[in-house]
């Protein structure tokens, strides 16, 4: 089966945007619940959340100081924020629309309903039940993944989609860990205080990791939390798991054998995987957690641009002098 570069690109981004919307919804929801438990520090928990998304400059320009209302507005509905849930779902749908004949009708219809749900919510003035709304978004994302897995060939296009989703998820998990860890670190001095497990629990909940962590490690321990979110190979939101899965999809796309590579994207992904395979918590803390997370994020970004160069922006000698560029109106 042949696959158009444009279609591969749309599959990849469609999945990245859905994943991004889900992550933002979970960040907001976890933060919201945490602030309900500790009312006095509520106001200063929203700015760090904005920082997680990397859009703090735009936020400052549009809203100034962060509070609960404007942070939720910005992260969930703001059309000017390209990474708001609304913008992500809209972009996902636009991508799906451009490959509607390639994906299954079930995928399209589910995503279209998802978009209509978002669109209706965006028109409402106030949200009485924010929790239900964010749960709906997470559910819609999970439903989409399930429908995709059970209605579409697990061929090249499906693998491009999963590659996109895994890179996005790895990126988001490193970000939430990076931002939250250093805010929460001071509280390590008074471990055992009543808020301690609430704060660290919220970090785990931001990655849907609370229950799975508890089963594996029991007690809340900041180092163990880092190990779990970064290096676990079976928890689906752990960075290591994401990169393992991304690598499987990459090999399926290129046809390369395990441990080999065919192009720069595959090579970089393989290097990152090897690093995570053999990383230990001690080494990471010796190097500095922030530095390590920063390096991982940079690698994920570089893999993303290599995927673009290798698969989406095919460079060929044209019969005509100039290569036509797709107009992205």
């Amino acid at each position: 089966m042949i696959m158009l570069s444009r279609v591969a690109n749309a599959m990849y981004w469609l999945n990245r945007y859905i994943e991004r919307a889900e992550n933002v919804a979970r960040f907001i929801d976890a933060n919201y619940h945490m602030t309900l438990d500790i009312p006095d520090s509520a106001s200063d928990q929203w700015q760090p959340l904005i920082n997680t998304t990397g859009d703090n400059e735009l936020f400052k320009e549009l809203y100034g100081t962060a509070n609960r209302e404007n942070a939720i507005e910005f992260l969930a509905f703001e059309r000017k924020n390209p990474n708001s849930i609304f913008s992500c779902v809209r972009a996902a749908r636009e991508n799906a629309r451009s490959v509607r004949e390639y994906i299954s009708s079930e995928m399209w219809e589910q995503l279209n309903s998802f978009y209509l749900l978002m669109n209706d919510a965006a028109k409402e003035d106030s949200m009485d039940l924010p929790h239900q709304f964010f749960v709906n978004i997470m559910n819609s994302s999970h439903t989409f993944i399930g429908i995709t897995d059970s209605t579409m060939n697990h061929g090249e296009g499906w693998h491009f989609g999963r590659l996109g989703r895994m890179l996005e998820r790895a990126d988001k998990t490193t970000r939430i860990l990076d931002v939250k860890y250093f805010i929460l670190l001071p509280s390590m001095d008074h471990i055992g205080s009543p808020y301690d497990s609430i704060l660290w629990g919220a970090l785990l909940r931001s990655a849907s990791a609370f229950e799975m962590y508890r089963k594996q490690y029991g007690r809340i321990n900041p180092h163990k939390i880092v190990e779990f979110l970064l290096l676990d190979s079976t928890f689906p939101r752990a960075v290591h798991y994401c990169i393992i899965t991304a690598m499987i999809s990459m090999h399926n796309i290129t046809g390369s054998a395990r441990g080999t590579f065919d192009n720069r994207a595959e090579q970089q992904l393989g290097k990152l995987l090897a690093d995570l395979n053999f990383a230990s918590l001690d080494d990471i803390f010796d190097q500095g957690l922030h530095e390590y997370l920063d390096g991982t994020q940079t690698s994920v970004n570089e893999i993303g641009s290599a995927v673009h160069d290798v698969f989406f922006n095919l460079h060929i000698e044209d019969d005509q002098a100039q290569v036509q560029k797709q107009s992205l109106a």
């Binding site: 042949i2 696959m3 158009l4 570069s5 444009r6 279609v7 591969a8 636009e94 629309r97 451009s98 490959v99 509607r100 004949e101 390639y102 009708s105 399209w108 219809e109 279209n112 309903s113 209509l116 090249e156 491009f160 796309i253 698969f311 095919l314 060929i316 000698e317 044209d318 019969d319 005509q320 100039q322 290569v323 036509q324 560029k325 797709q326 107009s327 109106a329």
Partner: protein, 493 residues
Amino acid sequence: MRFEGYDTEGFFDEIFDAKGNPRPGADLLIERFNGLPESELQRRQKASEIALLNMGITFNVYNDDKQTEKIFPFDIVPRIVPANEWAVLERGLKQRIKALNCFIDDVYNEQKIIKDGIVPADLVMSADGFRKPCIGLKPPCGIWCHITGTDLVRAGDGEFYVLEDNLRCPSGVSYVLENRLIMKRTFPMVFDACSVQPVTDYPSRLLDMLQELAPFGVRAPMVVVWTPGIYNSAYFEHSFLAQQMGVPLVEGGDLVVHRGEVMMRTTKGLERVDVIYRRIDDDFMDPKAFRADSMLGVPGLMDVYRKGKVALANAPGTGVADDKAVYAYVPDIIKYYLGEDPIINNVPTYACWRDDDRKYVLENLDKLVVKAVNESGGYGMLIGPHSTAAERAEFAQRIKAKPRTYIAQPTLALSRVPVLVNDHFEGRHVDLRPYILNGKDGAYVLPGGLTRVALKRGSLVVNSSQGGGSKDTWVLNADGASAAALTDSKGGK
């Protein structure tokens, strides 16, 4: 809800005759609809609209930046065409497309019809759809026009007339298929009882026909559908047809001419394309052959096409034959090439470049519909009986200034079909666009077509861009239930 009290108001109604009795084949439908529980029809109408919205069966509206997608309004009362009427339409449409294809081939090659004085040379050359780069082209099997959607109307006399030939990129067939799907879901029992001819095999027939066009020697042809992109008003249809045929949907940026062949950019490098079902206008296909400023096109495409290394459906240049001025000559064109009288007539047409016709038109503007020959979609029209004196004066000026660009036709009392309006039925005017596939083994007419309906009370404009909607069109089988219904109604039921 019942049909009792439904008034045909003196118009030809597709479902009821002048006395208010069901027409042949329609009685079963009416009986079943009348038998539904109170408010059941409204409930099903609402459910079908929600289904269309969730399925994303929408079209884009250009002049509205808030809501850029709308569902094409759909009415759940089907239009019924009995088998005997359909048989005549089918023969007439095949005859017409055969003659028009001969005309296009002739115009770009020998030009016999011009030399024999049947159609004036300047009229052909000045047609908006005439393409100089097509002169001398010899498309595979001599077929230029592979896919056609002809607009028919039924007038007050009960006769069908051809209103317009759409020979470039006719759209709407996806709505025919989706409307049918919705109707089968909404009224499975009614549908089953009525014995309706199927339309679902259209995509298979389209694919078969496109594959036949592949250049000589190509064993497993790569067929693609070419769309201008997601912002095109018919994007849903492009993507739907590609999906139903199982072929790639491409945009201009996906295609490139490489070493004398048309290729597409894939994740594994370049792949050759053999047949392109293009849903993009001639002007935007190849900036080297047509409009140089086109951003959508593939430079060098026409060279490859001329050498027979890629097939295009429809061929470029077919628009010369659906020009509204050329339209006036179609009866003569049929006679010239086939030696036959037209089976379906043209709407009587006054050509403003003929002195007698122009005089008549200018004297009778209040009774006529005046159309600019280069406009479509219901734009550039004057509907005489609904016009103001100022509008008529303006059109009179325009006609005198540029007679070549105007035709006029009598205002037709288009036939009507009941539509659901809140809690009762009202008659609305309709047209009918059947679809014709023209392959090397002859033409095929899809039994059905798009029935477009003017949803505004009294309106004659059915175009979706001007507030029109659509209905499913049920062409009945010659035998079975419909035949039984025929005899029943003759028995005076």
